[in-house]
């Protein structure tokens, strides 16, 4: 990819395998960095890209996502010890989402684990994990390999995603179950497809060898206009994922292996990921005793919640008050175009986290060249704001 006009060799930012295609369509020339890669902020209109996802389908380049292959006779055992969920129950051809913790039960990261076969898994992560995975693999008969650059990734998300797949000859993949995973023939080669995504909508993630990435892109874009299929940038994705209540590392929390301050680390229960901890699974997993101790002591000190906020001004980084007491802070906020509601994800003290609790949000907003401030009523709600039934269908 060194023939890119904007990126030279050496230690500069890397183009993704889709770069030549996304660059041609990036009409507003809006780029940002993601794990050392250039990725698109928006192609033309974040609103259009957003609505394509909620009403039809969109393509989002997820190639910079870090990917690790964990394979070998002990892969299942090693991953079961790594993750808080029961990996032994994950069948080949299925994926699961969940966190992994350090020894004190603090979340290092959360991500999707794909079981490609009985003895081979792929773990997707947003932050580098090789150091931790290799340490966790000690004593297990497994190999851990970073395969980030060997796999290009494209998220096809939206209620019409199945039709798009059918239209390019991947009808079999369109029938994958929720969190299903399979390999399919495509254009004289193979493609791996999972029924996963980050938008909270129906959708798939397509995994393909980088040298075939442009072929995949071209096949999809050739049918784009028949399905209101739009390439999407990160700006639209952020609104989608907040609506879905999906947390983001370095926004909702800092990974325990990178946090400077212990006070910034979070347990799974802090983050509302208690459902993804399986205390009934046998044996030890990293963080087990600490998580159990926290639960025995009455649960986490704070919780991630959703907020339904009055007015139209997104409550970016707003402090939250119960009366005059400061009880938390917003981590992500947006106006939800599908719900027509002002929503946010926030961390609040556990005593103020029950759904229905009324708080005040101290919202600052841009008032031409000054800063305006408003105290808005905020109601604690479940963070999964938008969960359409067709998501699992």
């Amino acid at each position: 990819m060194s023939d890119s006009p904007i990126i030279g060799g050496g230690a500069m930012l890397q183009p993704t395998p889709f770069h030549r295609r996304t660059a041609a369509l990036n009409l507003v020339n809006a780029w940002e960095r993601w794990q050392g890669h250039t990725t698109v902020t928006t192609f033309l209109s974040p609103e259009d890209e957003y609505f394509a996802t909620r009403t039809a389908a969109s393509l989002y380049d997820v190639s910079p996502m870090l990917k690790y292959r964990i394979a070998g006779p002990d892969a299942e055992a090693m991953l079961d010890r790594l993750m808080t969920r029961d990996v032994t129950k994950l069948k080949p051809g299925r994926a699961l989402y969940g966190p992994w913790c350090d020894g004190r039960g603090r979340v290092i990261e959360e991500g999707t684990l794909f079981r490609e076969s009985a003895a081979s898994f792929r773990l997707n992560a947003a932050e580098p994990q090789l150091f931790w995975l290799e340490d966790c693999a000690y004593g297990f008969d497994v190999t851990v390999e970073e395969v980030t650059d060997a796999i290009a990734g494209l998220a096809l998300q939206g209620p019409l995603a199945k039709r798009v797949l059918e239209d390019i000859g991947l009808g079999e993949a369109a029938r994958l179950p929720f969190f299903g995973l399979g390999r399919f023939g495509f254009e004289g080669g193979e493609i791996e497809i999972s029924r996963t995504g980050f938008t909270g909508d129906l959708g798939f993630e397509l995994w393909i060898a980088p040298e075939r990435a442009e072929t995949l892109w071209d096949r999809l874009m050739a049918v784009a206009d028949r399905h209101y299929l739009r390439p999407m940038g990160s700006q639209a994705l952020n609104t989608l994922r907040i609506e879905a209540g999906h947390i983001l590392i370095n926004v909702e929390y800092v990974g325990a292996n990178h946090a400077l301050r212990e006070s910034q680390m979070r347990t799974p229960d802090d983050l509302g990921l208690g459902w993804a901890v399986d205390p009934k699974k046998p044996g030890y997993f990293n963080g087990r005793r600490a998580i159990e101790a926290e639960r025995a002591a009455g649960g986490p000190r704070r919780r991630l919640v959703g907020l339904d906020i009055e007015g139209r001004k997104p409550a970016h980084a707003a402090y939250l008050y119960a009366g005059r007491r400061e009880v938390g802070q917003v981590t992500s906020a947006c106006w939800s175009p599908v719900l027509k509601r002002n929503i946010a994800l926030a961390t609040v003290e556990a005593g103020y986290a029950e759904p229905g609790r009324k708080l005040k949000a101290d919202v600052y907003y841009v008032k031409e060249v000054t800063q305006g401030r408003v105290e808005a009523a905020a109601t604690v709600v479940e963070p999964r704001f938008y969960q359409p039934a067709h998501r699992r269908g």
């Binding site: 050496g10 230690a11 890397q14 932050e127 580098p128 090789l130 150091f131 931790w132 990178h258 212990e262």
Partner: protein, 531 residues
């Protein structure tokens, strides 16, 4: 005869910092400098026509922003420009580079080891944690842990809070940093020899320790705890060379009324009834002052200037055994044009930052073995910078000034003291080393000024040529620096203060010892608030 409120002995950057703070608070201040120029080891010197050399210290990171602000150093002409990157080049043509941008650094390290690239993020996290704890302590007088004075108790409480916010992991790491060898510390994270060599370089600069000597991990921290424009561990160039720092400090001091005399060597302190009353210059002239601040290192201050009979014997013993061992040399080179480094051919911008020659920790340890045997490293660690990339005023157009810091170089050699011939042979070793990484380099040299620890001692006045005024090991840090019981910038003699890098928090062109000493003096003088 005029009696000054304070006499500062030595116009190094810390002496000038102290003088500026004292004058700013309204004291009458006289600075006396032995040499014909101010600046001590923060000097710019024109030795070859048209070229300005940062002849001793050469880069800046640790100079406290508080001092820049208090003394309005930018008004007095000081500009410090961070350089974006540094690279370690290997003899096999490979390289590893460090950028302000973590994504770029990660990619550079990943070429050697993906695992190390990940581990580097955690290593950095651990470094930052320690920096966050240490940095607020730099401009504080170290509290005396045996004292129950309110001031010390407050200081200790602050220290305890700093420890507490580290958490258990961070506190354990602090102990590791202060006591472990850099080698053992880096081995916990990394596997790549070149990466470990790159990082270990920071643990040996200016230090008579090897990368596997206990205590060397702290030296690494000392070199990365600075920050420039928000980049932790970033280093920069002073426009006009390091002398620009001293010139700006001197201008600030003079603006507030301080007098500065050069070619005024102090021969001894005048002491009456256990109290310093002034100084006697070489030639017999006396300058009287209520208080005297010594910018010299602790050995020169108490073993040369102060009358021994006025000092407690156990104190003198402690001063005599203070570790201050020379281990560094310096080459200042005028170049006809930029040299080529084949290892950096794909990344020409890397030539603008620091270039390290530090193949591995073993390479460094072997270099240290030579030092122990009374020989300069036959394969030395080199820290090369070409400040004229950023500051073209330091050389004629198209020409360049290269600063080469060399580790290890002993203060005396196994076969006797330094001679001009031996100095030339040492210079040749360094140039031969550079030539290995930059074929044709020698042909570009217009002038080469070789400086050994002996030169640093005899010209600049650094005992044994130690650039930090004493080793930065835990036994000589915080409330033990320089002498246990005398860490608060005062000694046994009334009215005598120390403001050089022998005192907390040590060397590195921070200015913090000077600022801290001035604050203590002003406290004693009953001056509550600086102007």
């Amino acid at each position: 005869m005029k009696r000054y409120d304070a006499i500062v002995v030595g116009a190094g950057h810390n002496g000038l910092t102290a003088a500026a703070y004292l004058a700013r608070a309204g004291l009458s201040v006289m600075v006396l400098e032995r040499r014909d120029r101010i600046g001590g080891a923060a000097v710019s010197e024109e030795r070859h026509a048209g070229f300005l050399y940062s002849s001793c210290s050469y880069v800046c990171s640790l100079l406290r922003a508080e001092i820049m602000r208090d003394l309005e150093l930018s008004k007095h002409g000081l500009r410090i420009i961070p350089y974006e990157n540094s690279a370690t080049i290997a003899r096999n043509g490979d390289s590893i580079a460090f950028f302000h941008d973590p994504a770029k650094t990660r990619r550079s390290i990943a070429r050697h080891s993906r695992r190390d690239a990940d581990a580097y993020a955690e290593f950095n996290r651990d470094i930052y944690r320690q920096c966050r704890m240490i940095r607020p302590l730099l401009l504080e007088t170290p509290p005396d842990p045996t004292s129950v004075r309110l001031k010390d108790l407050k200081g200790l409480r602050k220290l305890q809070k700093a420890f507490a916010q580290l958490g258990e992991d961070g506190l354990a790491q602090a102990m590791q940093f202060w006591t472990m060898s850099c080698g053992d510390f880096l081995d916990r994270y990394f596997e790549s020899d070149l990466l470990k060599g790159s990082l270990a370089g920071n643990s040996i600069i200016g230090t008579a320790l090897g990368p596997y000597s206990p205590g060397s991990a702290y030296v690494l921290l000392h070199h990365v705890m600075g920050d420039l424009d928000g980049h932790v561990g970033a280093w920069g160039f002073a426009v006009g060379g390091m002398g620009a720092i001293s010139q700006a400090l001197a201008a600030a001091a003079q603006e507030h009324g301080a007098e500065i005399r050069t070619a005024a060597e102090v021969e001894q302190l005048i002491v009456r009834n256990g109290r310093v009353e002034g100084v006697a210059l070489v030639g017999g002239e006396e300058v009287l002052g209520t208080r005297v601040v010594s910018n010299l290192d602790v050995k020169r201050t108490y073993l040369k200037l102060a009358p021994r009979k006025e000092l407690p014997t156990d104190f003198l013993e402690a001063v005599e055994s203070f570790k201050i061992r020379g281990s560094s040399g310096k080459l200042n080179i005028a170049l006809d044009r930029l040299p080529e480094f084949p290892a950096l051919r794909d990344e020409p911008l890397l030539k603008r930052g620091g270039i390290l020659i530090s193949e591995s920790m073993e390479y460094l340890e072997r270099g240290y073995d030579d030092w122990k045997n009374g020989q300069w490293s036959r394969e030395p660690f080199l820290d090369i910078t070409v400040p004229t990339h950023y500051d073209p005023t330091m050389a004629p157009p198209g020409k360049h000034y290269m600063s080469v810091f060399v580790q290890y170089v002993p203060p005396t050699l196994a076969d006797g003291p330094w001679t001009p011939e031996k100095r030339d042979a040492f210079g040749k070793t360094v140039l031969d080393t550079i030539e290995l990484y930059s074929p044709g380099f020698r042909d570009l040299i217009l002038d080469c000024w070789v400086r050994t620890p002996w030169d640093l001692e005899n010209e600049v006045g650094l005992t044994e040529g130690n650039i930090f005024h004493g080793e930065l090991t835990l036994d000589q840090l915080l409330f033990n620096r320089p002498i246990p019981g005398y860490a608060q910038y005062r000694g046994p003699l009334g009215g005598l203060y120390m403001c050089g890098s022998s005192t907390h928090p040590g060397g590195g062109v921070m200015g913090a010892p000077g600022a801290n000493a001035a604050r203590e003096l002003l406290h004693d003088a009953g001056v509550r608030r600086a102007a």
